[in-house]
């Protein structure tokens, strides 16, 4: 059974239809990459899965449960789904360490010492142990995004959503994050990743989904979608990317 099952999803902003009759199934331990033009609705889809938007129609099943059912407890769902955003959403009034320990302590009830211990380990993984007590505003862009990733991972979610997490990272650290995500995958993590990094998509994902016109235009293994796409729109999109020197 799919861990995540999006069925006939529709999401509009006013008269603007962003997602329309959108279907997507993600199996346990699968890593799916969403690609598509800017404004094609990748971020919106991830926000819908994390219940940050109310969908207009359609259903989203997480582990068999219809999470679009309004009687479902959204907080329990969100605590099981981690998300890392495109823009940096660190809490500016807290130290890096407190940013990371907030959810373990306040949602999962982990003790202060253990939460900080786990947070420090996570900071080690993103190479920022020395910045534990720094304020987010004093970090460089790349540093901030790495903290945001650590904050999501420390929550031990069953499904991780990544919204262009590497776009602000300097290339030398992309490798580290990639390795971290590969680790996560081998630990059995299910992941949905919106990205513009085609190389990243190719290396980490089991499946690439191309969004266009509010629904899935093409879906398949990266070797096929990125190298030998069937849909003419995918072909055109990839051509522009290759022209830009990104693949």
């Amino acid at each position: 059974m799919s861990l995540l099952n999006v069925q006939a999803l529709r999401k509009t902003f006013g008269a603007n239809v962003i997602l329309d009759n959108f279907d997507l199934a993600v199996d346990s331990h699968e890593c799916v990459t969403l690609i598509g033009a800017s404004g094609s609705g990748k971020s919106t889809l991830l926000r819908c899965i994390n219940l940050l938007e109310i969908v207009d129609d359609g259903q989203i099943f997480l582990d068999g449960e219809d999470i679009t059912d309004p009687s479902v407890d959204a907080d329990t769902v969100r605590a099981r789904v981690g998300i890392v955003f495109q823009a940096f959403n660190l809490f500016p009034h807290m130290s890096v360490l407190n940013n990371i320990t907030l959810a373990p302590r306040r949602v999962h009830g982990v003790g202060k010492d253990q939460a900080e211990h786990e947070a420090m380990e996570m900071l080690d993984r993103v190479g920022l142990r020395s910045k534990a007590s720094a304020r987010p505003d004093s970090l460089s862009g790349g540093q901030q995004q790495r903290v945001a990733i650590a904050r999501a991972l420390v929550n031990k979610p069953i499904l991780m959503l990544f919204d262009e997490v590497t776009s602000a990272l300097d290339p030398e650290l992309v490798g580290e994050v990639l390795a971290m995500m590969k680790d996560l995958k081998s630990d059995g993590m299910t992941m949905v990743i919106a990205t513009h990094e085609m190389g990243f998509a190719q290396q980490v994902s089991d499946r690439v989904v191309f969004l266009e016109g509010g629904c899935v235009a093409e879906s398949g293994p990266p070797e096929q979608v990125l190298v030998d796409p069937v849909d003419p729109r995918t072909q055109q999109f990839l051509k522009r990317i290759i022209d830009a020197g990104r693949l």
Binding site: R10, I18, D20, G58, Q59, P70, G214
Partner: protein
């Protein structure tokens, strides 16, 4: 994005979700209505049956007396409004100047910053009544010929100085809440400090502090009547209510004044809310 012409009819599940949400909203409305009715009934019953109710009603809610004093108090309210507008404009200008002075950077501007800080500290610290007395009675008592003596002038000056200090702190909070990257972006385009403030920082700052700003304007409107202390005899709504009450020992005129004040505050509140919202964040979903 799919074409808008694409016809969409909600699915069964969407309809049932919408129905569920509507029923939840209805339920909470019903609960609220029931609680309101029960609380209101008990309160009203308790009040109406209290020993003192007839006397209370006569003293505070005398309808015919209220009708009688209404035109007089409305007249006074017009004075409150005019004084508020007049002083309000001066206050906003003064307060913005002070807030901008406090926001200057660099050691060269230390004296201006210090001046602005002292002004704020002093005039926010002292009671309005002292400023009124010192300016309204003290300055004319010096008998310096070329200074005006009109108590209304000095009364307005006192209100402007005191409220200016409060409002400047409000503006300062707004200015400091604008992220420094906005300043960097503006300056990098070649805008001078002044133009940066005018076009980028202040518009964002003012919008953010609309509610506390309105707070001060509402408070000002009610304080304009204090000019009375100077013998300026500003017959504002509150003084008129006081006079009427002193004659009849009936507090209904105060209630009339209160209702009138609420009636002019509400549209002001809605308007500033509307402005603030129109220029505010685009809603970030449902959370």
């Amino acid at each position: 994005m799919s074409p808008d012409s694409h016809a969409w009819s909600p699915s069964k599940v969407a309809l049932s979700r919408a129905a569920y949400r509507r029923s939840r909203a209805r339920r909470s409305l019903v609960i609220a209505a029931v609680i309101t009715v029960v609380v209101a009934t008990v309160t009203v019953w308790g009040v109406l049956n209290s020993t003192g109710w007839p006397r209370f009603q006569k003293a505070f809610l005398n309808l015919s007396y209220g009708k009688k004093v209404f035109p007089d108090i409305l007249n006074g309210l017009w004075l409150n409004i005019r004084l508020m507008l007049l002083c309000g404009v001066c206050i906003v200008i003064l307060a913005m100047l002070v807030a901008l002075m406090r926001n200057l950077r660099g050691p060269a501007f230390f004296p201006l910053r210090a001046l602005a800080t002292i002004y704020t500290d002093v005039f926010r610290g002292v009671p309005l009544i002292l400023v009124l007395l010192l300016l309204g009675f003290g300055v004319p008592s010096l008998r310096i010929d070329w200074l005006p003596r009109d108590p209304l002038f000095w009364g307005c000056a006192s209100l402007i100085l005191v409220y200016g200090a409060y409002v400047s702190e409000v503006f300062r909070a707004g200015i400091e809440s604008v992220h420094p990257s906005q300043r960097a972006a503006a300056r990098s385009l070649g805008l001078s400090h002044g133009k940066m403030m005018r076009y980028v920082v202040v518009p964002q700052a003012v919008r953010r502090v609309m509610p506390p700003l309105l707070n001060d304007m509402v408070a000002l409107q009610k304080d304009t009547g204090l000019l009375y202390v100077l013998g300026a005899v500003a017959y504002d709504a509150i003084l008129r209510a006081k006079i009427a009450t002193a004659q009849t020992f009936n507090y209904t005129p105060y209630v009339v004044a209160g209702i009138l004040f609420i009636l002019i505050t509400i549209p002001l509140t809605r308007l500033t809310d509307f402005i603030a919202r129109r220029q505010g964040w685009v809603s970030g979903g449902i959370v």
